[in-house]
Amino acid sequence: MATVNPIPDVPPPSERSGDGLLVLLAAMPQEQRESLLANLMASFPAEALLIASPDAISDALPENSYPSLRIVAAPASGISWTLTAADFVNASQLAEKNGARAILMLGRESSSLGVSALRDLANSVLTASTDLAIPCYDLPPHTGLVNSAILYPLTSALFASRVRFPLAVDLGLSLRMAERLAGAAQHFTRLNQGEAPLWPVNEATVAGFAIDQLEVGPHVQPNGPDLNTIFPLVTGALFSDIEAKAAFWQRFRPLPPALSTVPMPSAHTADAAADIAPMLQAFQLAYTNLQEIWSLVLPPNSLLGLKRIATADAATFRISDNLWARIVYDFLLAYRLRTINRGHLLGALIPLYLAWVASHINITTSGTNPESHIEAVVNAFEAEKTYLISRWRWPDRFNP
């Protein structure tokens, strides 16, 4: 890996081993990068930092702009804003090559993280016995809804983890965690699937590594491809990971209670009702056209539930938490059994997800705290886990 700004008075990596923090940055605009580097230099002594950025390959990060920092080039990430398998392989290789003691991976829009947030994430893996430091963002209501609807409830119920943002793009990793993730990622890179997202929380839970969730305050969610592109990518990757770790999650593990010490996003209330009409229209259109496909995936009971809500008006539109949990579990089972083409399957889930979003917005605008509703969804996923396990083991059994 070419060093863009090799500073003569910086000792070689072998001599610096033990005190280095490798900071792997995603590609970002110049003003964001400057803000982030300023925050990093305010959090740590410059000599303890090794910055790896894909921008160092191009002229976006000039050599003389940060003379006190050691900057190396990192391979560019893909178009997706998520952390991919290739990112984890690169992180592990760079850490090994440069003798880093821990890794801080910072995704797009990480310039919105404050100095204390960056320090907490890094210190958690540098000084404590934590293997995976993961942020808990304080997001406005109606933000990160795929996470709230599918990623968080599934990860919680199946891996007994209370990590609120399993797809966080800012992570602190110990060396052994980085090696473990790189090992998992190599399966994908070997198959030319380096763009696939990885699930660090699931890997850490299966390996028995320590996870620390840290409150990092407000965060700007990164822009990316549209929902129809990113939704199948993310949910498909999670379903694949769940499928691969079936032997682990089928054993009973109680979900830890949502303790008050566990950081949670602030209890925002939805002050303004979002417009749910387009989402309801999307659901109605799908209900008219996708019945044939849904009936291959969902049992009659769930189809009946959908039929009931399809006739409801906008003000009273609700999807019960148990019905939503069963729908997601049935799609997970169909993904495993390849009932229909997997791309089609995940595409057919999008209108149902939009219906859940409309229902969630209705519930929160009626005065319910969004976090309370999301916790209720998690509990429903936990309660329906026996249904998933039963159908996973005996998929051909009668299922009304």
Partner: protein
Amino acid sequence: MQNVLATMLQPDSNESLQPLYTGNNSIWHHMSDALHQSIYRVLSLLISVLPGILAFIVALAIFTLIGMALSALLRRGLSAAKFDDRIARNSGNVDWAPSTSPTALIARASFWACVLLGLIIGASAFDASYATAAALPSSLLPYLTHVVGAAFLLIAGTLSARFLARSVLIGAVNAQLQYARFLSLGIKWLVLVLTGAMVLDHLQIGGNVVELAFGILFGGIVLTLALAVGLGSRDLVSRSLESHAEHSGEHGVAPTTPPATGSGDSISHF
């Protein structure tokens, strides 16, 4: 065998010695001769084909049995060698459904390969015995291969039509196109019409009529779809262009959510 049959089918010589009416006797004699000769030819032909049919059936049965044995052997051997686990380890997260595990696939493939081999050998045996008779039209066997090819075309075309129809339906629904089903049906029938025309052409049925009918049908469906999409998606295209222009003016990046999802400003899916 042929001599015996010829003897059996020869007209009785005594009959010609008892004429009631001389003119009718001659006609009857000729008709009887002609009938007997044609029956003789048909029976001879059937007898000459029978060994070929028998050879075909025997070859097919033997190779089917071999295929079953080989399939069972492979299934046991690969299961004992934990072949599925090895494949799963080497192919990362690409997992297999229980009904389509690598072992099951290999066993099934070997069975059907044996059946196919039996069919080929049976057909060759049939061909060899049939050529000696050389009485049936010589285009029958090549035509059978065309029939098999046409069957494959039909299966592939039907599967492609279903796959494409579903892809279009789901894509159109997620893009909130009101005519999603119509579009999906149009694509499905386009592929089916194309498949039908290819199958008929492969079977050499219809000739120019099929080509002409296919051209009219295909062109008609494409024109209908083009009109429907062109008229129906004006709003969608204008909304998309407006949204793109606004976002490129503000940030220079693509919008995060499509206008079709209708998410308000306060909603972010990720």
